[in-house]
């Protein structure tokens, strides 16, 4: 097992730059998730680490070795594909022993290691089955098993739960987490599903447009997003933003929006321009009868223990996450106000969050 480090990694396909100048260090034994919308470069990054794509420029270190230009077969990593890519002309046992055969293990060793991995993944009863007769969950386990038997330096997974139905996905998510705790292998996991990312990851890197915007622990990503994109992409629904038509100066502790005055955490950094964004998560907003932004109820979604109320205001639609006991009717006039001071100001020019007492 080892650390993975990418330095100034770049990948272009013709005129299109899929991955821009990325730097990342993935620690030994860490479960690291690359998260982002489709086309953000997360899969390309993963494929470059695997050796399925060669970088246009930059370096990839696996442990202490620079592997950027090595073939996939020379890197000693395992890859779990979204579509599993189990060899259909072999049964489960042969699929699992396929990587070991290449490495010239003795027959008895191969048998032992295959059975050990099968036991760990609870697929030992289907070793002699054909791939086509397996359920999605079992195929997923076989794909993991094929990665596992080799005891590689790192596991790379490209949306491995993407094709499973919701019920299985939750189950496999738990199993993956448990498996990771059992074997403690460095894992890089690509997904577009933030819930999956949040529940699995030790650390998450959020990517967009080929750039790594932020790499942090899940709670930091959620509570202290570094850019507006991260704030809006993480959380369901994402953060609310209001335009602030004034420059933010150091030590400022309120802003004016549409003539109303809002308290903000004491700012430690000043903005570059005079157009900025006030960001607040839906759960930090509340409905009020006397003060706050005026608007009308546009929609209500029930989430079991919470409900999301969409309020149409002069600043646009605002999502408010409230307690289930709050009763509102469609088109009812309400007022929205922050319930605490967990507010982030984003610089309008750079889209980056400004440091404050709340987010340092």
């Amino acid at each position: 097992m080892s650390q993975i480090k990418i330095v100034n990694l770049q990948k272009s396909f013709g005129d299109f730059t899929a991955v821009k100048n990325s730097n990342l260090t993935i620690n030994d034994k860490e479960f690291f998730v690359l998260l982002g919308p489709s086309g953000c470069g997360k899969t390309t990054t993963l494929r470059m680490i695997a050796g399925l794509e060669l970088p246009t420029s930059g370096e990839i270190y696996l442990g202490d070795e620079e592997v950027g230009m090595l073939r996939a077969s020379e890197r000693d990593i395992a890859f779990v594909f979204q579509l599993f890519a189990l060899y259909p002309h072999m049964n489960v046992r042969n699929n699992l022993s396929f990587p070991l055969k290449m490495q010239g293990y003795k027959k008895s060793d191969i048998k032992n290691r295959v059975e050990e991995a099968a036991k760990l993944l609870r697929i030992d009863h289907i070793l002699n089955s054909n791939i086509s007769s397996l359920s999605g969950g079992d195929r997923q386990r076989v794909a993991l098993g094929r990665a596992l038997v080799r005891r590689p330096k790192a596991f790379l997974m490209d949306e491995p739960l993407g094709t499973l139905d919701a019920e299985f996905r939750e189950l496999m998510c738990l199993e993956l987490k448990k498996l990771h705790l059992d074997i403690g292998a460095t894992t890089v996991y690509v997904t577009h599903d933030q819930l999956e990312a949040m529940s699995l990851a030790d650390r998450i890197a959020v990517m967009d447009g080929g750039e790594i915007l932020q790499a942090d622990e899940p709670n930091v990503i959620y509570n202290k997003p570094k850019t507006k994109f991260v704030a809006s992409f993480i959380g369901s629904p994402g953060m609310n933003f209001f335009e602030v038509h004034e420059g933010i100066s150091k030590d400022q502790s309120f802003v004016n929006i549409e003539g109303a005055k809002f308290d903000i955490p004491k700012q430690l950094e000043e903005s570059r321009g005079s157009k900025n964004f006030f960001g607040i998560r839906p759960e930090n907003l509340t409905l009020d009868n006397n003060e706050g932004l005026k608007g009308s109820v546009f929609g209500v979604e029930y989430l079991g223990s919470r409900k999301i109320i969409t309020v149409k205001t002069s600043l646009g639609e605002i999502k408010v996450k409230t307690d289930i006991s709050v009763k509102v009717k469609l088109n009812e006039n309400v007022q929205v106000k922050p319930s605490n001071n967990n507010i982030i100001i984003f610089d309008g020019e750079t889209d980056k969050s400004l440091n404050s007492e709340f987010i340092k």
């Binding site: 050796g51 399925l52 594909f81 060899y87 002309h89």
Partner: protein
Amino acid sequence: MDTSRSYLEPSSFSKKMAAAIIIVYAVITLIPISWMVMTSFKNVDSAISYPPEVLFEPSLEGYVNLFTNRSRQSQEYLDSLPPPENWYEELVRSREMVITGPSKFLGRYSNSMIIGFGSTFASVFLGALAAYAFSRFRVPLKDDLLFFILSTRMFPPIAVAVPIFIMYRKLGLGDTHLGMIILYTVVNLSLAVWLLKGFMDEIPKEYEEAAMIDGYSRLQAFFKVVLPQAMTGIAATAIFCMIFSWNEYAFAVLLTQFNAQTAPPFIPTIIGEGGLDWPAIGAGTTLFLLPVMIFTIILRKHLLRGITFGAVRK
């Protein structure tokens, strides 16, 4: 009223109609072939009798004549010989002839085998490699190259007979097995590349990628993972290539005479006494049908079985 079947299912009447049409069609196509097989088991007289005999006493004369050279002898000479040692000598003597040696048929037949299977293997092997490259790599001018490959099929191969004849004479390839294998491979290759490319395109590239991650080189991945999954396409392509090179007549007549002559130009030259020896020709043609038939039956299970089905969720 029968309400057990769904409206989407064909009625039992239309099923019966379909079966009847297929049977009629099968009978019509099978008549010439069964007549040929019947002729091969007739004797020389019943083969040309009029009206044609449908029921006849079977004889192996055609097969004996096919495999032997014979000469006619006087009755006194035949009487002076020791009694025949086996059934076919007896059969030949009853026609007042003696066996002078084996005919050339077996040699021609094995030439057909060598050239047919040799060129089929070469076409499929080279075709698979080329198809894989066209399917997976960024080949410059890919579309033009593919069109160029296809264009070799836009004229009948025999149209280039004269240049090929001259080239083969200069190169010393005329009347050689290698020459015929090369020729048939060239003709079949464009078909093989196009057919196999279609099948290769259907195989997700994740399989090779998985194999390469598992420590195999691209070539090893091609042989161990891609080829087994392309079996359906390979079987279909092999059958087409085999049928062409097995049946090819015009080039075989032109380019082969002794050493590498195949069965198609040989069979019509089986001359009997006072006319063509129809039972022997029937026997030669019947035996000639068998390899392609067996080859197709062996590969049929690959044609019918979609082995990649269900292995990748799409």
